[in-house]
C-alpha cells in the first residue's frame, strides 16, 4: 500500500496537499470566472437569441453590439452610455481622494490617547455596518417631507453660514462647493469604514521609537507627520486606494443596466458588450492608479 507514496518525495506530497487545498478556488475560478469571462466576450460579439428548443442561438455580428451600445441604446433612465460612463468615472475620481484622506484623518483622530477612546472607536467603526448598501439607501432616500435627514441640511441654514455670508462677505460661489461636501459628510463617512480600520491598524504598528527619535531631534508635530507617519503608511495607502476604487465600482449601477438589457429587453449581446466595456474601464482606472502610486511608494522607500 505504501509503495506509491514512497516514490513521491516528502516535498512533492506536500505540494500535492497544497494543491488540494487550493483546488476549490481553482474550480471556482474556472466555473465562475474564466468561463463567464470567455462567454461574456463571446456573447458580446454575437446576436444572441432564444432557440426553438429553449437553447440559445448565436449569430456572429462582430463589434456591431459595441457600436449599438454607444450610438443607439439608452439606459433605463434615458441617458446615453457615454454619459453614464463619464458620470460614473468622474464621481469616482472625485470621491476617491476624499475617502482616502478622510479615512486617514479619522484613523489619526482615533489613534490619539484620550479618555473614552473605547467609545469613540465603537462609534468610528459603526460605518462598517451603516455603509451597507441597503441601509444607506433606506437612511438617505426619503420620499416625503424633511423630517428625516442625515444631518445634511443642518449647515445651509446654520448660523455659521449666515455669519460667513453676511458678515464676512464670503461669496456663495466659493462657499457652495465646500458646503455640498460638508453636507454629504455622512456619505463620505459611510464609505470609509473599512479603510479607517486598516489605517488605524497601520498607525498602531508604527514603532513608537521612531516618534521618540524625532521628538528628541526637535522635530515639530508637522514635520513628524510628513517624515515619519506618511512614509510608514505609504504601502498601506496603496492597498486602501485600490480597495476604495474596487468598492466604488461595486456600487455602480452598471450591473442593473446590463441586467435590464439582457433580461428585460432580451438583448443579451448588448448587455454583454456593456459588461466588457465596463471591465475595460475598471482595469484602466486601476492600472493608472497603481502606476501613480507605485512611484509614490518607491519614492518614500528611498
Amino acid at each position: 500500500m505504501k509503495k506509491p507514496n514512497k516514490k513521491l518525495s516528502f516535498r512533492t506530497m506536500w505540494k500535492i496537499h497544497g494543491l488540494i487545498f487550493v483546488s476549490p478556488f481553482l474550480i471556482g475560478f474556472i466555473a465562475f470566472f474564466l468561463l463567464p469571462l470567455v462567454n461574456t466576450i463571446y456573447y458580446s460579439l454575437n446576436n444572441v437569441g432564444v432557440g426553438d428548443q429553449g437553447g440559445m442561438t448565436f449569430e456572429w455580428t462582430g463589434i456591431q453590439n459595441y457600436i449599438d451600445l454607444f450610438q443607439k441604446e439608452v439606459t433605463t433612465t434615458n441617458t446615453t452610455m457615454a454619459r453614464l460612463f463619464t458620470e460614473e468615472n468622474s464621481t469616482m475620481l472625485l470621491s476617491l481622494p476624499l475617502i482616502v484622506v478622510f479615512s486617514l484623518f479619522m484613523a489619526l483622530l482615533a489613534n490619539q490617547k484620550f479618555k473614552g477612546r473605547a467609545i469613540v472607536r465603537l462609534l468610528f467603526f459603526l460605518p462598517i455596518i451603516l455603509g451597507i448598501d441597503v441601509v444607506m439607501d433606506m437612511l438617505t432616500i426619503t420620499t416625503g417631507g424633511t423630517t428625516l435627514d442625515t444631518g445634511s441640511n443642518l449647515l445651509s441654514g446654520s448660523y455659521v453660514t449666515i455669519f460667513l455670508v453676511r458678515t464676512l462677505n464670503v461669496p456663495m460661489r466659493v462657499l457652495y462647493p465646500i458646503m455640498t461636501y460638508v453636507e454629504n459628510i455622512f456619505d463620505l463617512i459611510s464609505q470609509a469604514g473599512v479603510q479607517t480600520l486598516v489605517y488605524l491598524t497601520a498607525l498602531q504598528s508604527i514603532s513608537p521609537s521612531l516618534y521618540e527619535v524625532s521628538k528628541m531631534e526637535g522635530a515639530t508635530a508637522y514635520e513628524t507627520f510628513w517624515k515619519v507617519t506618511i512614509p510608514s503608511i505609504m504601502n498601506i495607502t496603496f492597498f486602501v486606494v485600490i480597495y476604495t476604487i474596487v468598492d466604488l465600482f461595486l456600487k455602480s449601477s452598471i450591473a442593473e443596466e446590463a441586467y435590464a438589457f439582457a433580461f428585460t429587453q432580451g438583448k443579451i449581446g448588448v448587455g454583454s458588450a456593456l459588461s466588457v466595456v465596463y471591465m475595460g474601464n475598471v482595469i484602466l482606472v486601476l492600472a493608472i492608479a497603481a502606476l501613480l502610486l507605485r512611484k509614490a511608494v518607491k519614492k518614500n522607500e528611498k
Partner: protein
C-alpha cells in the same frame, strides 16, 4: 547676586517655554476633541434622528412642534414594519441570520484553506494562483453577472446533469444551492479579499511551528487543523465578522440568484421602493385605522424597518468591535 539673577531669568524663560508648550498641547487636544465629538455626532445623528420619527404617532409626523420628543408614544410604525418586512414573523430574521452565519462559516473555512496553501506551500504555479485571487478581487463582480446568470439558468457540469434530468441541465436560479456553491468555490461576497487576508496572516506565522509539528509526526492536514487553524483565531474572527456583516446585508447575490428567498435585506430593498408607497400607506390605513397616513408615515415605517434590520448587526458589532482593531493588527496586512 549675579548668579541668582541668571537663575531667575532662566526660570522665567523656562516657565514661559513650558507654558507655551502646555498651551499648545492643550489647544491641539481641545481641537481634536472637538473634531472627534463632531464626527461621532455625524455618525450617530442619522440613527438618533430616526427615534422620534419611529415612536411618534402617525398623526404627529408632520407636526412642526415635534422635534425630538413625540407628544404621544406609539409603536404603530414598528408594527407595520414588522408585518411588511417579516412575513413569517420572527422566523424571517432568524432565517436571514442563519443564512448569513452559514455562508460565513463556509467562506471562512474555504478561504482559510486557500489562504494557508498560498502562503505556506510552494506548489507549482503558486504565483499564478495568487494573481488569480488578486484579479478576481479587482474585477467587479457585476461585469460577469450576465454570463454567470445564464450559466446558472442552464446549469450543467460536463454533462453530468444528463443522468438526473431529461433536458441535461437544471435551472439553479432561485435555488439557494447557488449561494452555497459560490461560497464553497471561493466566489462569495468579497471572498477573494478574505483569501488575501488569510494568506497575509499565515505568511507571518513562524516556520518553526510547522517544523515542530512535522517532527512530532503530524501530517499536512493535522498540522493545518491542529496547529495552524487554532493559531489563526484573530484573523478568523476578523474575517468572520466582516463576512457576517456583508452577507447579512448583501442584496446583490441574493437578489439576482435567489430573488424569492425572502432574505431580510432583499425584502427591505424591494418593499420600500417609492412605487410601493401607496400600497404601504393603504395597508397602514386599513391595518391600524389611521386615516391621515401621509408620505411621512411611509418614511417612518421604512426607518423602523431599517432599525429592526440593524439589530443583529449591532449585536455582532458590539461583541466583536474591540477585537476587530486588535486582530487587524495581527492580520499581517500591515507592515
Amino acid at each position: 547676586m549675579k548668579n541668582k539673577m541668571k537663575y531667575s531669568d532662566m526660570d522665567a524663560s523656562l516657565a514661559i517655554y513650558l507654558f507655551k508648550n502646555k498651551f499648545k498641547q492643550g489647544a491641539v487636544k481641545f481641537f481634536s476633541l472637538v473634531l472627534i465629538l463632531g464626527l461621532c455626532f455625524t455618525i450617530v445623528y442619522p440613527i438618533l434622528s430616526l427615534v422620534p420619527v419611529i415612536f411618534s404617532t402617525v398623526e404627529d409626523l408632520g407636526n412642526p412642534n415635534v422635534i425630538w420628543i413625540p407628544e404621544e408614544f406609539s409603536v404603530v410604525s414598528f408594527k407595520a414594519a414588522i408585518r411588511l418586512v417579516m412575513p413569517q414573523g420572527f422566523m424571517t430574521m432568524v432565517k436571514s441570520v442563519l443564512y448569513a452565519v452559514g455562508i460565513m462559516i463556509l467562506q471562512v473555512f474555504f478561504s482559510a484553506m486557500v489562504g494557508y496553501s498560498l502562503a505556506r506551500v510552494k506548489f507549482w504555479g503558486r504565483g499564478l494562483v495568487f494573481g488569480m485571487v488578486i484579479l478576481v478581487f479587482l474585477l467587479p463582480r457585476q461585469s460577469l453577472l450576465l454570463a454567470q446568470y445564464i450559466s446558472f439558468v442552464h446549469f450543467d457540469v460536463l454533462g453530468i446533469m444528463n443522468l438526473f434530468t431529461k433536458a441535461g441541465e437544471v435551472n439553479l436560479i432561485n435555488n439557494p444551492v447557488v449561494l452555497v456553491l459560490l461560497a464553497v468555490f471561493g466566489f462569495g461576497v468579497n471572498q477573494s479579499l478574505f483569501i488575501f487576508l488569510f494568506s497575509q496572516f499565515f505568511k507571518n506565522i513562524p516556520k518553526e511551528l510547522e517544523e515542530a509539528s512535522l517532527i512530532d509526526g503530524c501530517g499536512f492536514y493535522r498540522t493545518y487543523f491542529r496547529i495552524m487553524l487554532p493559531n489563526a483565531v484573530p484573523i478568523i474572527s476578523t474575517v468572520g465578522i466582516l463576512s457576517f456583516v456583508w452577507n447579512y446585508g448583501d442584496t446583490y447575490y441574493t437578489n439576482y440568484f435567489n430573488p424569492e428567498g425572502s432574505y431580510m435585506s432583499t425584502l427591505l430593498s424591494s418593499t420600500f421602493i417609492s412605487a410601493n408607497k401607496d400600497y404601504i400607506l393603504n395597508a397602514l390605513r386599513t391595518w391600524y385605522d389611521v386615516p391621515v397616513a401621509t408620505d411621512l408615515a411611509f418614511d417612518a415605517v421604512k426607518q423602523a424597518a431599517v432599525l429592526i434590520f440593524l439589530i443583529p448587526l449591532l449585536i455582532v458589532y458590539l461583541i466583536g468591535q474591540r477585537k476587530l482593531v486588535e486582530n487587524m493588527e495581527n492580520s499581517g496586512l500591515v507592515g
